[in-house]
């Protein structure tokens, strides 16, 4: 049977009067309904602009298929690059102790009295580093979490020194991050952080009244004033871009996200990550006061995103990190290292969480699950008892990887956003009891679909104004550079011919 053209793999979804098509490597385009009909019925004129655009986006082919296959295979491999890096993110839970008691805290920590039972011992820390360094990746990231990591600063110090020594031969690039509430920050801490080029990540929920509503000291009272003071101090002390903040959207701030964003801009933070609250840990216990529906989140998110885009129009460079991540997946040929949105899931494959006793979990949520309910489903092993091979190359991780490969899950397999999306096995487990097969029915999916819909509405409009802002986020460059605003002549040399 001779046809004018052959299909190459694509997915589609109707979008009002248009149809969105996406291919396996993330190239996308919009077709009008009648164009789509003639395309799938093989009636399209192969000399028409519409067909040439489809051919350009590698959804149809008129010449030899083998060239296209090899070509697309290279692009596909690029998209799955993170697999070759394997586990790059290693999160060390340095202590369970915390001087705060935030209402939505999913770390469910204990008090800050000096009880070593709740700390990661230095010996355990070193053993965890040994395991982490077995990962083949050339670029690693070690994150110190808690509780409040600064309460066990000695362990951080020892682990960093030990890592530097252990890495001295291979000299792999290792980034360190301390996730802290900033209330216990001292000169000594900052000096060590600066010396070792360690970044700080903190939580800022918004202006004082919002922040203090949820993020309270264990002894009572808000933390805003101290956090802002120490945030400014750290920003000046440490290198540029070594201080960042994120926030959790809760019932207290969901209707006032623009006030939160204003606060971030005031605190001179370059970006915000609007995270939807996870129904784990203390958040689940306090759901009535902190929780909200996925629909509520999506509405608030859209409003906040438009607000941030407007700020960018006004000349303030400010990024919404989740949107920037999704746009990187949509508009660039590259893969991303964000473990929560990968197929197969980055949980375990991309990142691992080390508990104070050396238990290794595929993600922090998995660790929390075990802590709260003794459910060790997602525990890969222990750094003292098990080998790296049995933990990271074992049957359990393989099963998780297989269950979270959304290319093969019902609902996800045919979803138009599949090439950009990923899987959260713990969420699926909590909602449906499986490792990810019911991905398409989780609240996680619902939220992601809605945000993809939103972003593709922008992309369909194809307005340079907003697309330029998106690219300034993706490439972390000033909007004026993207817009080609600053003029000048090219002084560089070129070979004359």
């Amino acid at each position: 049977m001779s046809t004018p053209y052959h299909f190459l793999p694509f997915r589609f979804k109707r979008n009002g009067q248009n149809v969105l098509l996406v291919n396996d490597i993330g190239e996308f385009q919009f077709l009008e309904e009648n164009q789509f009909q003639s395309f799938i019925q093989k009636r399209m004129d192969i000399t028409s602009d519409a067909f040439l655009n489809i051919q350009s986006k590698h959804m149809a082919v008129i010449d030899q298929i083998s060239h296209n296959i090899d070509f697309l295979a290279t692009a596909y491999r690029t998209k799955k690059r993170y697999l070759y890096d394997f586990t790059s993110l290693h999160m060390f839970v340095i202590t369970h102790r915390c001087n705060q008691q935030c209402t939505y805290c999913h770390a469910s920590s204990v008090g800050d009295n000096d009880n070593a039972l709740y700390d990661m011992s230095i010996e355990t820390g070193k053993r965890c580093v040994d395991v982490a360094l077995k990962s083949p990746s050339q670029n690693l990231k070690f994150e110190f979490q808690g509780g409040e990591p600064l309460l066990n600063f000695e362990a951080i110090r020892e682990i960093v020194e030990y890592t530097k020594k252990a890495n001295s031969i291979q000299s792999r690039h290792i980034d360190f991050v301390v996730c802290t509430n900033l209330t216990k920050l001292t000169e000594e801490h900052l000096s060590f952080l600066k010396q070792n080029k360690i970044s700080l990540s903190t939580s800022l929920d918004g202006p004082k009244d919002i922040h203090d509503q949820c993020r309270k000291k264990r002894s009572g009272g808000g933390t805003y004033d101290l956090v802002i003071k120490n945030l400014n101090w750290a920003s000046e002390y440490l290198q540029k871009d070594h201080v960042s903040a994120l926030m959790t959207v809760t019932k207290s701030n969901i209707t006032q996200l623009d006030a939160v964003i204003d606060e971030y801009v005031r605190a001179k933070l370059p970006s915000i990550f609007l995270r939807m609250i996870n129904p784990h840990g203390a958040a689940l216990d306090h759901w009535r006061t902190v929780g909200y529906s996925v629909d509520d989140f999506v509405l608030a998110y859209e409003k906040a995103l438009n607000y941030i885009i407007d700020l960018n129009y006004k000349g303030i460079f400010f990024v919404e990190e989740f949107a920037a991540l999704l746009l990187t997946k949509i508009l660039t040929p590259f893969s991303t290292g964000f473990v929560d949105l990968q197929s197969p899931s980055g949980a375990g494959l991309g990142g691992a969480s080390y508990e104070i006793n050396g238990d290794v979990f595929i993600a922090d949520e998995a660790r929390m699950l075990a802590k709260k309910t003794n459910d060790n489903t997602f525990c890969l092993g222990n750094v003292f008892r098990d080998t790296y091979e049995s933990m990271f190359c074992g049957q359990k991780l393989f099963e998780i990887a297989r269950s979270t490969t959304i290319e093969a899950l019902p609902g996800c397999a045919w979803c138009v956003y599949q090439p950009y999306c990923g899987s959260d096995p713990i969420r699926s487990y909590l909602e449906f009891g499986d490792f990810g097969e019911s991905q398409a029915k989780t609240g996680f999916c619902k939220k992601n679909k809605a945000i993809f819909d939103l972003l593709f509405r922008f992309l369909q409009s194809n307005e340079d104004k907003v697309i330029d802002v998106f690219w300034s986020w993706i490439s972390r460059r000033d909007l004026s550079q993207i817009r080609l605003e600053n003029s000048g002549h090219n002084e560089e040399f070129c070979l004359q011919a």
């Binding site: 299909f7 109707r14 296959i69 491999r77 449906f432």
Partner: protein, 173 residues
């Protein structure tokens, strides 16, 4: 896709009724067991097969489908020469509704019964189901053509081979 595996679906249809749909496949027929749950406080469960009204002959409409409403259910028929069970199942999965799927007339018709949908949303859910099954059938049809190509791309991405041309010739794409 894992549709053909044994999957437990938990579906929440409307405020008044809940049904738990469990199905398994065998070669020629899909048989369903439906568990009813009342929302009464003591939540009694009973098993039963839902009654399906007599389907009428298919008319030559645009969608090759016909729908009929009876006893709070909606019955839609699909011409099995054009639509596959797969398409209907995928549509149900997307809509997250309680339904019964069966084959009739020597496998020439697929009968879809949507259980107890609220009265005011009936016409819209019918239209949406029609469109969804159509789209899913399109997906299945185009997948027949590019399915092998997709597998080749994945294989070439992670286990590249020198003689790709030869393999493609043998596959007769």
């Amino acid at each position: 896709m894992h549709i053909n595996q044994v999957v437990k679906w938990e579906l929440n249809l409307c405020l008044l009724n809940q049904a738990i749909l469990v199905y398994s496949t065998n070669r020629s027929r899909i048989s369903l067991q439906i568990d009813w749950q009342n929302t009464s406080k003591d939540r009694r469960r009973h098993r039963g097969i839902l009654p399906v009204s007599n389907p009428q002959r298919l008319s030559e409409g645009n969608y090759y489908m016909q729908s009929e409403k009876s006893e709070g259910n909606i019955t839609i028929e699909f011409d099995a020469r054009i639509y596959s069970e797969q398409a209907v199942k995928s549509a149900i999965y997307d809509f997250n509704i309680a339904a019964q799927i069966s084959l009739k007339g020597d496998d020439k018709e697929i009968i879809l019964v949507i259980l107890q949908s609220p009265v005011d949303s009936r016409s819209s859910i019918e239209q949406q189901i029609y469109k969804s099954v159509l789209d899913h059938q399109v997906r299945i049809d185009v997948e027949k053509e590019f399915g092998p190509i997709r597998k080749l791309i994945l294989a070439q991405a992670f286990f590249p081979c020198e003689n790709l041309d030869q393999i493609i010739d043998e596959m007769d794409l």
